[in-house]
Amino acid sequence: MAKSFWPGAVVLTLLAVLALFPSLFTGTDPDAADLNATLQPPSGAHWLGTDQNGRDLYARIVHGAGPSLLIGAGAVGLALVAGVLVGVAAAQLGRTVDQVLSRSLDVILSVPGLLLVFLVVAVLGPGGGPASVGLAVVSLPGFARVARAEVIRLRGAHYVEAAHGFGWSRAQVVLRHILPNALGPVMVLATVTLGAMIVAGSSLSFVGLGPQPPTAEWGAMLADSQEFLAVAWWPAAFPGAAITVAVLAVTVVGGHLQRRIERGRT
């Protein structure tokens, strides 16, 4: 399994560069329509073919990497920060706060994930940002639970007791000693969650609740391809393959990190 870590890490790095600097990889405008060249199959001029408006699919996939990956990455980032805050609060602020927060997390978990996202998007309106917020709400309980458990576990550690003995305040101990050590499992959860969030984010774009047209986004590109499935396979094939490769890379790297942490524990 360790063999697949490096390819995964390389693909992940490549995707990050692609998302940040798409112009390095293509000089073609992703939104330039050419109505004389609609639904062209892959060729020398258009490596991955063109879509129903004659836009170059390769350019759109390259420029789509940022918006597509940002929904999932944004969701994980938001959930991580909010989840750790909630988890630390639940662990540190006494029984009542713990009970209230933990039961609230149960309420979030009682609604099937995607439907909770629909509720959030219904309130905020469609778009990449609202989709991220919705997905963050859904994945927040996981981060909060891990953070809470880690804080409680570390509270008994000798160095934490020593820090208390030196007269450090509770907030200082949490910030300087507990949090840095609790972050490992939280980061593993973040990588493991990221794959599912990328799929969920592209699903939301696919049904029209993500970034709005003409933004190039992999899920939205797949939605466009739907009407032309009978005549053109390439607009449906390549954006989906891009999502799959991204998720696979994230999963491989996340799985590797998880096994390393688990081995360290036992």
Binding site: L114, L119, V121, F206, L222, G240, V252
Partner: protein, 331 residues
């Protein structure tokens, strides 16, 4: 899950031997009470949401549809919107408890009517997918729990790949190949049995892959147990050994996973229904989200939460039935 199950047993021990009630009735009671509290929390959350949304609650419920002043007054009376917040909240709780989700002013029909006509299609898809997931993953796990390493690792590589496939993309690929090129299955929203095949396949692929992995790990662990040697020494066939003795041990983690899968299927079905232009709550909930039709969105969210909670209670009971150890924990 196991923790939840063991809690009542531990209490029984603390109370002394005469009160050893760890039966299913008590288990169900504890779980139902906890679930009811969670659902009450969910209803309360939707009430707060309606309050904080911009515009008056009546406008939110109307979703900017044009209605006569009489209809508007009726909403205000029904939801008691002119009363203090506490009275509004009680009225809201009462309505939801009685199953009154109000009217959709976008669809211009009662919410229940709209959902009732679409829900059976979605349930059919979800149940078919669950059935396929159970049968396929048990078969694949029994076949792939092999002593040869390459058999196991090629199965688990295939599983990783399938899990990474977005279900809606798999649906598009299946449509391209089997409907548009081979013409084996109907392409556009058909309620016939053959129209169910491709959506079920697209929705089941991920769960089958996850479940097969979990079942195989369980099988391999159970195959190391001493009772396997005993069974083999009695001359039992390899397949019979796996199906009759080992599978039961592997089923436990898989059953707890089933609850989670059922929850994700409800959301997944919405997306798959769009891919295959099927009837069901998918198109309805999306239309409602796009139009901010809150009565419909809230009703569907609360209903699916209720279904999800019921499924999880059922899963706990299943675990109790499969594993005698969870029953004897207190004795």
């Amino acid at each position: 899950m196991a923790g939840v199950l063991k809690a009542p047993a531990a209490e029984a021990v603390a109370a002394g031997p005469p009160r050893r009630r760890t039966g299913p009735a008590r288990l169900v009671l504890v779980r139902v009470a906890a679930s009811a509290a969670v659902l009450w929390g969910a209803v309360t959350a939707t009430f707060c949401l309606l309050q904080v949304m911009p515009g008056g609650t009546a406008d939110v419920l109307l979703a900017r549809s044009a209605v006569t002043p009489e209809v508007r007054d009726r909403i205000i009376a029904e939801y008691r919107l002119d009363d203090p917040l506490a009275a509004q909240y009680l009225a809201y709780l009462g309505r939801i408890a009685r199953g009154e989700f109000g009217d959709s002013y976008v669809l211009r029909r009662p919410v229940w009517d709209a959902i009732g006509s679409q829900l059976p299609h979605t349930l059919l898809l979800v149940l078919a997918t669950l059935l396929v997931t159970l049968v396929a993953s048990v078969l694949l796990a029994v076949v792939s729990a092999h002593r040869r390493r390459w058999v196991r690792s090629s199965f688990s590589a295939a599983e990783s790949l399938v899990v990474a496939l977005p279900p809606f993309w798999l649906g598009l690929l299946l449509l391209t190949v089997f409907s548009f090129n081979l013409h084996w299955f109907p392409a556009i929203g058909s309620s016939s049995l053959s129209g169910l095949v491709l959506p079920t396949a697209a929705l089941a692929a991920g769960p089958v892959a996850v479940m097969t992995g979990v079942l195989r790990d369980g099988l391999l662990r159970a195959l190391e147990e001493p009772f396997v040697v005993t069974a083999r020494s009695r001359g039992i066939g390899e397949l019979a050994l796996r199906l009759r003795h080992v599978l039961r041990h592997a089923l436990l983690p898989a059953t707890t996973l089933l609850g989670w899968i059922a929850g994700s299927l409800i959301g997944g079905a919405v997306i798959i229904e769009i891919v295959f232009s099927r009837q069901g709550i998918g198109r309805m909930v999306l239309f409602a989200v796009e139009n901010k039709d809150m009565p419909v969105v809230i009703a569907i969210v609360l209903l699916t939460a209720a279904v999800f909670v019921l499924v999880n209670i059922a899963v706990d009971i299943l675990v109790w039935m499969i594993d005698p150890r969870t029953r004897e924990a207190g004795s």
